[in-house]
């Protein structure tokens, strides 16, 4: 912690970066901190409770400006950063990534190859909560799944927190704001909610890094992160990517292979 604060203060005072995005103590759990000077850096923390995905801020031009900036990133955030990089949303010149590795040492990454090599050591595994809900869903019949999701979707009131929390939802104009025609109805009815979540999942095909930020952000506790997570796991063998690793072979839906599966096509 001391090392991180000192290093952040050093980077800011030397003018290497103009902004450090990190975590500070919040009322219930760590919250994002944007420090622009060495006093701010004194508040920085980094531990296992820091799981808010800060990668969501680094594509916001109005926030990070034109100067170089640093971001502190646990492993799930590093995955998002890698995916943003393969989608050409980040440049190495502008970004300095800081993480604390398992032995508690501070590590800095200036190139995305270094991050990729570091991330490759960690396999993406289901956590306890994910395993519990997903094994329940996997054991259901189709009718039960429909009921389960309709029940969950009936709580959704379309706050779009899942969209705001997702680092990969960076479009400046979202499909839900398209109103000629009104593509997804704005009111929170179960069908409109389900259409939104199916749409979100379709836009995440081959891109979701399973950081869980969307499910974490949901104010009514719908496991929305598990829709994209299960989709990633199911489609990985189909499209030849590894969940949690950046899709270097190209976006799943903008590339294709001659021998894509087609048993279902009559």
């Amino acid at each position: 912690m001391k090392k991180l604060r000192d290093r952040a203060a050093e980077l800011l005072s030397q003018g290497v970066v103009s902004l450090v995005i990190g975590y500070e103590e919040g009322t219930k759990r760590p919250r994002p901190l944007f420090c622009r000077n060495s006093e701010g850096a004194e508040k920085l923390i980094f531990d296992s409770h820091c799981f808010h995905n800060l990668a969501v801020y680094i594509t916001k031009k109005e926030l990070v400006g034109k100067e170089r900036f640093a971001v502190t990133a646990p492993i799930s955030t590093l995955r998002s950063i890698m995916q943003l990089y393969v989608e050409n949303q980040l440049s190495e010149e502008k970004l300095l990534v800081i993480t604390v590795d398992l032995s508690g040492e501070l590590r800095e990454f200036t190139t995305f190859d270094e991050i990729a090599a570091y991330v490759a050591q960690f396999e993406l595994k289901r956590g306890e909560r994910e395993q519990e809900i997903l094994s329940k869903i996997e054991g259901m019949t189709r009718e039960e799944r429909w009921k389960f999701w309709m029940e969950e979707m009936s709580h959704c009131f379309k706050c779009y927190a899942c969209r705001s929390a997702c680092p990969l939802c960076y479009c400046s104009k979202c499909v839900v704001e398209v109103n000629r025609p009104q593509w997804i109805n704005p009111w929170p009815a179960p069908l409109a909610n389900m259409e939104w979540h199916i749409n979100r999942a379709m836009h995440m095909v081959g891109r979701c890094t399973a950081c869980g930020a969307c499910g974490d952000a949901c104010p009514v506790g719908i496991p929305v992160d598990l829709i994209t997570r299960k989709m990633m796991e199911d489609l990985a063998p189909e499209f030849g990517y590894v969940p949690g690793q950046p899709a270097k072979q190209g976006n799943a839906l903008s590339s294709w292979k001659l021998d894509d599966r087609e048993q279902f096509i009559r």
Binding site: W149, M194, M202, E238, F239, W256, R261, R266
Partner: protein
């Protein structure tokens, strides 16, 4: 399901302009008879068929959907059907996870020379959907607002 014998399924077909639409045209000019339950929507290419359109047709009362276009390597735009095929794989997987009945969406390749294949495709799909019955589960959710919100007296 014997109770569904007088049920006439509504089926929407999303077809590409260059192959399946011409194929369906050939069915007509060849005087082949096939089920009249299908309403055809013509698209420039299967790559243009947005996945949400399929869901919208269920919400508007369709019991089944046919999506059809050129065979692989026959696309007028070279690769539109390859992109569409990938999208269908992903879409089917997500729909299955959400519990939507994926048996009601029939994908096919029908070329402009396959008039009889089109007739068979429609007939088989109508038979399948007839056996499955109306998609009441989805339509119930689709009218949610009308029943619960706007027309309280109804």
């Amino acid at each position: 399901m014997s109770s569904n014998t007088d049920f006439e399924p509504k089926i929407i077909a999303f077809v590409c302009n260059w192959c399946t639409y011409a194929g369906a045209d050939l069915t007509g000019t060849s005087r082949l008879k096939y089920a009249t339950n299908v309403k055809i929507v013509r698209f420039p290419c299967t790559g243009r068929i947005d996945f949400l359109l399929l869901l919208k047709s269920f919400a508007q009362g369709a019991d089944g959907v046919i999506v059809s276009g050129c065979h692989p390597n026959d696309c007028h735009y070279t690769s539109g059907n390859f992109h569409a095929r990938r999208r269908w794989i992903a879409f089917r997987s997500i729909l299955d996870l959400m519990g939507v009945d994926i048996r009601r969406i029939q994908y096919s390749w029908v070329s402009a020379a396959e008039g009889s294949k089109w007739a068979d495709l429609v007939n088989n799909t109508v038979a399948d959907i007839r056996a499955l019955g109306p998609y009441a589960e989805y339509q119930k959710v689709a009218d949610y607002l009308e029943k619960e919100g706007y027309n309280e007296e109804a």
